[in-house]
Amino acid sequence: MKEIRIIICAKEIPDPEAPLSDVSVDAERMEVIVDAPQVISPFDENALEAALRIKEDTEARITVLSLGKKVSDTVLRKSLAAGADELILLQDDAFEKLDSHSIASALADAIRKIGEYDLILTGRQAGDWDSGQVGMILGEILGLPCINLAREIKVEDGNVLVKKNIPGGYEQVRARMPALVTVSNEVGELRYISRTKMLKMLRGAASIPSWRGEDFVSGREELQKMGIVELSSPPDMRRDCEFLDGATPDEKAEKLAAVFKALR
């Protein structure tokens, strides 16, 4: 059987699980400042995991694309350590703060340049802007069957078989490949990567290809910025926490039981 070619679109973002105290809003520059390490957006990691599981059953080649103004290969190399075959960085100053349609359109150009593919996977939404649009728009631009919010993905006889989330359960759907699927977290977290593997990949001599806009984007002048007109902090969520202290767990449990009693 012929090798399945899978493309994953993965975005590098500041750790969305950062403590609240490390996040602030610069209203003037209209930017969210996060003092935390960069990571692969969580749902994109789920997408990579879905691809790796397909690769366990079928001969497959996984290419990871990451687009941004500047993309750190040290962050994205994690995808190679996890089992992806190839990583291509798409970097250009023109890619800063693009709207979803423009990102999808640039990714579509990159995918056309790659040429052959059977399955494109993206996370359901990125953890920085939570827009949840790029995957579906990308599928539209490339004229592919689109499947949103997958919880399980299999390939069989040139088809992709997906369990997609619907309210109250799931729908088993099937589409002819090539197809685009967005991935939800039910797929499962990205597999464990041993420290040795990670270090080996980080120190690896393999140079990571990096394409600039002029290498692949067809309509650079059509790229649009997202139209942010205002950015502000959300209402304060903090409450005064009363800590239930005690010398032993039993004492704390007793105090907690008293709290429940009072709330009854």
Binding site: Q133, P167, G168, Q172, M226, C241, F243, A253, A257
Partner: protein
Amino acid sequence: MSDVLILGEVKEGSLDMRTLELLGAGKKLAGDLGVDLSVVLMGDSISGAAGEAASYGPDRVYKLEHPLLKGFKADLWLKSLEQACKEINPKIFLMSHSFIGMELGPRLACRLNTRLTTDCIDLSIDPEDGLLLRTKPVSGGNAISVFKCPGEPQLATVRGKVFEPVEAVEGKGEIVDIVPEIDESMVKVESLEIVKEEVIALDKADVVVAGGSGLGEEDGFEILQGLSRALSKSFGSVMIGCSRVAVDKGWISSDHQVGLTGSMISPDIYVAVGISGAIQHLVGMIHSKKIIAINTDPNCNMFKVADYGVVEDYEKVIPVLIEKLEEL
């Protein structure tokens, strides 16, 4: 036409609550712009729902009825909606941020060459240029952003339970039929089976006992089940919730997930066990009346939003707590 148009969703023959909220949001915008408000409905048998929609006072209800529109088939719904938008030519088009809106919104925006803002919590008209201002939480909820985009229709999906639902009024809107130009050959994604699962309605719980990665293992949820049983003797409906990470790890199914991409709930009491409190989780439970956190890390986010905190290993404190609760 330069209507404000909303996509209504029909559940078991009648309009769902989100549609009434969209009508509320749309009515205000149409009023501000001095234009008509219309509703578009799709399905295989929606005469009843169309009549119901008309009773909420929109100027028009566009009815797209077709046997192939039974159930949500994205390819056919999208094609029909694209056709309707081209015929109606609305200035603004709003959808619910439901699984339908999440899928149709971006694809429709692409086909109509316009821009969409998803999961909006406020919408208004910029008096300067008459364009739609779309307010949306970003960065998981760490910031609130207002967007303004070119292109028509101006598209937004709207978060549930944010806008006031509209009330029925006297006088009925006109019902206009649009015949969807669709056929089977347009289906690219074939539906093989719909599997209903026993799903817990977290938003109906009085108390939610939720666990996260701090549980350390799947079995941790058994301890939470024990607490849930003990609490249910005094508190009515007690259900188990969880963080996204617990689902990712395969410890529990996603209908228990609380947060931005799970349920948004506000129970009387929310007990967060081993949940550090990523912003994406907090936005889903922050409106709980009382929040109790159990965690070994005194500096975690969850304690910053909690009313009561216990810094302790949950495996040591919960079994004793269950015993004490039995004595209540």
